[in-house]
Amino acid sequence: MAKRLLDFRDATAIAGVGYTPFTRDSGVSTLTLACRAVLAALDDAGLTADDVDGLATHRVGDSAPPTLVGPALGLTDLSWHLDQFGGGSVSHAVVGQAALAVAAGLAETVVCYRAINARSEFRMGGTGRGVPASPEVQYQAPYGYVAPPQQYAMYARAHMLKYGTKAEHFGQLAVTQRANAAKNPRALMRTPITLDDYLASRWIAEPFRLLDCCLETDGACAVVVTTAERARSLHRPPVLISAAAWGGGTSHLSCEDPAVTAAAELAPRLYAQAGLGPGDVDVAEIYDCFTYSVIVQLEDYGFCAKGEGGPYVASGATALDGPLPVNTHGGFLSEGYVHGVNHIAEAVSQLRGDAGDRQVPGAEVALSTAQPGYILPATSALILRRA
């Protein structure tokens, strides 16, 4: 179906990013975390809460919605807000929809945030709260198949069987991201690891070991979306939103090939929107709930041939000094888990050139991606560009 694109490409920008510290027990509510991250992002942009006319988040019933955060910050007449149900797969769609609202003139300054007490309050999947009531759960939970590390391990083995992907490939990815985190003062896990450390880490759900799995983190992260024009007049170098796409995906119970993700369907639309291709991407922040998630997305976003994601990572291609630095902040595996928004914020830092010791020299184009559609059957992604 032919799409009629508005003048969307590069019409909006991310003007600021904000974080709370990442911890294992924030000791405060998700509402408090959300407010802190929103205010930090506004401060970074050189704006105040009085400039905000839109708020957006995604959540799975575990966090503070815009209708709480707005009034808590004295904002009683937002002209646009979005309370997107969903997990990491919709994380980038939230920013995409905020950009649409700004491009359409419904709002001028939207703060997108995610606040999460994923360690101390609401742990994902089966442990620490009731089993969620998606209709697919009834066919899985009775067999003790309840948590994301199990589901991803299942898909990872399918990929290993089909393409010969090895534990050492997953391990090299974990090692590389930890090396990046060592250069990131925000990261929770900064002590370097070796491939032997990875192989010696305990089994969670074979083929996954502990070091295949992301952290569970308390924290919040926010980004400020406004018009490209307005962003140019603010504190920070603006980072343009060149493309925002979402879609793709089937479900847990119907798929032709479990070694392919929704990203394979979405990627061509995303690149076409930006007028760019994988070869133009200087740095990629790729949703890494688990090691395998990165390897399969490197294939499905076209950075290597299908099935070659493991050897591509093992070659060093995704290291900071490689041709495609990936998860320069350390990702969920080592920086912290803020459900996708910290990947977007890191891409912004890289494009502004303020990523410190982990800066990729001359980065002009970044890809940032969401959970690739294995848990909820859709994904989303952004292409960002230095103005």
Binding site: P135, E136, Y139, Y143, V146, M154, Y155, R202, P258
Partner: protein, 132 residues
Amino acid sequence: MVVYRPEPDRDSREWWERIARHEFAVQCCDACGTTRFPARAFCPACRTEAWHWQEVDPEGRVESWIVNHQPFMPGAREPYVVVMVRLAAVPGCVVYGNWHGRRPPEPGERVRASYSRIDESLSLVNWEPVDG
């Protein structure tokens, strides 16, 4: 005794009732004959709503599996195995269950349903190798 008792919905209730009688049925479209699982109102191939249950062989092939070491299911014998089975009777359909073989699964091997009776109104569908 089952830790997570399935909660049938209005689409799936009869499927579970049939499974309790150890009868493996899927929906079949009245218009185009395409089979589907899990239970849904519309045929995804032709969007027709009319359908009937069709008993099929509860057979498939092993597409993947995991060996659970973390206590994901309270009280489970650990490590326990969950298999992903590509169902022969329904195009593009994978189902999950515990492994009832005496040895580990092998990639692509043929498996058949092994029912576990929980009580009068509930059985679970697990999987065992066709070739022992």
